[in-house]
């Protein structure tokens, strides 16, 4: 089972997720769209290509794709698959998870700044601004879950979510929304970013990898995709009940995975992108919901109403 999940997480999902999103968007727009596996074909194509490296860049630019990818893979190893224990788990591992993503982001931003392009500088500034709101909200959510389950490793937390308490449902629902918003922000999807635009002035993620080509670009795109898969997995963990057995959990996970893809596609199809100055307000929604979840746990588990 672990092997199947590992193959899925690292070899299938990072290509399936964007493929499903693109296909759903195409169908909504009345087009046939690219094949679902197109992101996979693109990845293989990029690996075979040569690359151009700007003369103005330094080692940071060369280093970023591999370290960025390694950091995201590290983060992926900490996230448990449904009803499994993660390969890497120890008390407080969610801190490592958050900082692994932080390291990936740091490298991405450093490489973007390294190119000296004014576009990439703007993209980097936006990425950091938004990340500085996402990270505390994420910690608030995981902290709340840890408080609720009295566990401090992600694997243990998700294994103990269902302890029958009525408010757990509420906390999990809030957590799902928080993680979905995090997915949109971290995955650079609408309404925060627009993965389809060619307009450098409006980009966030795409503009930071503008100077990459060939295998480096493949690494960057794969890492970005894997990051989305990781967050989607965490989100699915919140929703899969404990009692349904491994096979049921796997099937439900697959269904939720597709639902998330369709959800992202729906968001991007039906609502316009936010004005850049309104994006922080949208992300603060994460903080507000995470704080609400925290308040719920405080009241019911530790607090006045018990």
């Amino acid at each position: 089972m672990t092997l199947i999940f590992a193959v899925f997480t690292f070899l299938i999902a990072p290509f399936l997720l964007p493929g499903l999103i693109n296909k759903s968007k195409a169908l909504w727009a009345g087009r046939h769209g690219a094949p679902i596996w197109q992101p996979g074909y693109d990845f293989l194509k990029l690996l075979r290509k040569g690359q151009v490296i700007s003369k103005t860049t330094s080692f940071a630019f060369r280093l970023a794709p591999s370290v960025n990818l390694a950091a995201v893979i590290l983060a992926a190893l900490i996230i448990p698959m449904p009803q499994q224990t993660a390969l890497l788990n120890f008390p407080g591992d969610f801190v490592l998870f958050a900082y692994a993503l932080g390291l990936a982001r740091f490298l991405l931003v450093a490489a973007a700044m390294d190119t000296g392009s004014s576009f990439e500088g703007m993209g980097a500034a936006r990425e950091m601004t938004f990340a500085s709101i996402v990270e505390p909200a994420f910690f608030m959510l995981i902290g709340t879950l840890a408080l609720m389950t009295r566990q401090s490793s992600l694997s243990a937390i998700v294994a103990n979510l269902d302890d029958g308490a009525g408010f757990a449902m509420l906390v999990k629902s809030l957590g799902t929304i928080v993680l979905f918003i995090m997915l949109l922000v971290e995955g650079s999807r609408g309404p925060v970013d627009d993965p389809n635009t060619h307009l450098e002035l409006t980009m966030i993620h795409e503009v930071m990898i503008l100077d990459y080509s060939g295998p480096d670009l493949a690494f960057m795109q794969y890492a970005a995709s894997l990051k989305m898969v990781v967050i989607t997995t965490l989100l699915a963990n919140l929703l899969i009940p404990a009692g349904i057995g491994p096979a049921g959990a796997a099937l439900l996970f697959l269904a939720l995975f597709m639902l998330v893809a369709v959800g992202i596609a729906g968001t991007e199809s039906l609502i316009a992108r936010l004005r850049m100055s309104h994006v922080p307000q949208f992300i603060f929604l994460m903080s507000a919901l995470a704080l609400t979840a925290f308040a719920v746990v405080m009241f019911f588990r530790n607090g006045v109403l018990r």
Partner: protein, 495 residues
């Protein structure tokens, strides 16, 4: 003031045009611009040893143009009007660039389209507008862009995400079109193709202005049926581009539904042009003296059914677009141009109408069928992206109605008459309302009845500066949206 009062497409002998002293011309121009007239064209013309300045001003409300000329003094300079009449700024720069006539006191005498590389001291000696400060940064975009779009250089001075100033540099597509008109004046078919290439997205608009000018200069009467077909083509062009713009505006705010639906509708419109003349952009349709393509019964039926379909679907799609909160949040109050600014800059077209200036050459200076089928210029007052989008939507519906009226009352008869020789020593001002706004062509003939000056003004010439002002204090990430809401032509400007 004894300026010559003329109508659109009224050929006048050069000898009737009043010759003023340059000072007097400048003084009169300022008086008239400050009392509400709009500058249509201000250009220099060299014929033999005679170097003269010509001015055409429009009184939009009372539907007439006034015209005067002035001999350029030996000093080759005149007092710049730009400080008190900003609408003059680009015309004066153009005159300086092409003829070396100095508008003394001009605040920004930058090359218009021949590039800063050509100035004294070379490219390095040109100083872009510059801001200093700790948080200030400059962003240069273009002339090579990420998408398949025309070349232009945009230099933003920003603090953080906010744009303080945008300087636009154009001219990368300068082809010398005006000179090519004179060089090839003996090749009428070449000229026709040249007119079609002034701006590839405004084929009917520009070619219409060109053939109208030829017909006015030669006194050719165009068959009524041809006039109807021309109007159908012009309105179809407007419908197609406006639909494309609504699609692109939706795309720029990542609103996928609007992006796809309007793009699909645009194809319906361009394919109708294809059915009419064999080209989706209307190339090869207009001819001096009429049109080349007859509207067969089948084509008329196709136009009728497409108009019905477009009307229904455009209304549906626009209802969804303009009711979407997320779209409105991006469109409203973005890139606003006030009515005062629009007037000062002499803006034209849908962009001017969105800022509360209801001018439209079809309504104010009717030509062809527009004299008997009047168009009502629709205007809004907010001048933001929303207004520019909504004006386009209303104009699509107006144009569809116009096309229906034309196909339902299509006159019988010939579609083309031969064009006779042009009258010698005449000048004609030819205005048409392309989808982007007022297109002004001015043709002058010499004593043998040959074209000796062909002056072209695409509406973009009036509106580019408005874009630069519209993005001030906006987020830099909203620039593409503002830009698209104007959708100005690079090659139409660069000529």
């Amino acid at each position: 003031m004894n300026w010559l009062k003329i109508k659109n497409l009224q050929a006048v002998p050069l000898s009737h045009i009043p010759r003023l002293a340059t000072d007097e011309l400048v003084e009169n121009m300022l008086d008239q611009i400050h009392t509400g007239k709009r500058l249509v064209q201000f250009f220099a013309n060299q014929s033999g040893k005679d170097l003269a300045l010509y001015t055409v001003l429009a009184d939009d409300a009372d539907s007439f143009l006034v015209l005067a000329a002035a001999e350029v003094p030996r000093s080759k300079s005149f007092a710049s009007m730009t400080p008190s009449a900003p609408a003059c700024h680009l015309f004066e720069r153009e005159i300086y660039e092409d003829y070396g006539i100095m508008p003394a006191g001009h605040p920004w005498l930058k090359p218009v389209r021949k590039g800063i590389a050509g100035i004294e001291g070379g490219e390095e000696s040109y100083h872009f507008f510059h801001m200093a400060g700790e948080e200030v940064h400059e962003v240069g975009v273009g002339p090579i862009h990420a998408g398949v779009i025309e070349p232009g250089h945009f230099r933003f001075s920003c603090t953080g995400e906010t744009v303080h100033h945008l300087e636009i540099e154009l001219g990368f597509q300068h082809r010398g079109i005006e000179k090519l008109f004179i060089k090839n004046r003996r090749k009428p078919f070449f000229l026709l193709k040249l007119a079609e290439s002034i701006a590839g997205d405004t084929v009917i608009g520009h070619t219409g202005a060109f053939v109208n000018a030829l017909e006015a200069l030669s006194g050719t009467r165009v068959p009524l049926r041809a006039e109807s077909i021309r109007a159908i083509a012009l309105e179809l062009e407007r419908v197609a581009v406006h639909l494309g713009d609504l699609s692109a505006l939706s795309g720029d705010v990542a609103y996928l539904t609007g992006h796809s639906v309007f793009a699909a509708l645009r194809t319906l419109a361009t394919n109708t042009s294809l059915a009419i003349c064999g080209n989706r952009f209307g190339r090869g349709l207009l001819a001096p003296g009429g049109v080349y393509s007859e509207l067969t019964v089948d084509v008329v039926a196709k136009i009728k059914s497409v108009v019905d379909e477009l009307e229904e679907k455009t209304e549906l799609a626009a209802d969804v677009l303009f009711a979407s909160a997320s779209v409105l949040s991006r469109f409203e109050k973005t890139g606003a141009v006030s009515k005062k600014t629009a007037r000062e800059l002499g803006m034209v077209g849908p962009a001017a109408r969105a800022s509360g200036i209801p001018i439209d050459a079809r309504a104010d200076f009717p030509y062809g069928v527009y004299a008997s089928f009047p168009v009502h210029a629709f205007s809004l007052s907010t001048g933001d992206v929303f207004a520019r989008a909504y004006v386009r939507y209303v104009e699509i519906l107006q144009s569809l109605r116009m096309i229906r009226e034309q196909v339902e009352s299509l006159p019988n008869g010939k579609i083309r008459r031969p064009v006779t020789d042009l009258r010698p020593d005449h000048l004609v001002v030819s205005l048409t309302e392309g989808w982007r706004g007022e297109i002004a062509h001015i043709a002058i003939t010499d004593k043998r009845g040959q074209l000796c000056r062909y002056k072209i003004k695409d509406p973009s010439f009036n509106n580019w500066l408005a874009l630069a002002l519209a993005v001030r204090n906006e987020g830099i990430s909203d620039f593409p949206l503002c830009n698209k809401s104007f959708n100005l032509s690079y090659c139409g400007f660069d000529l």
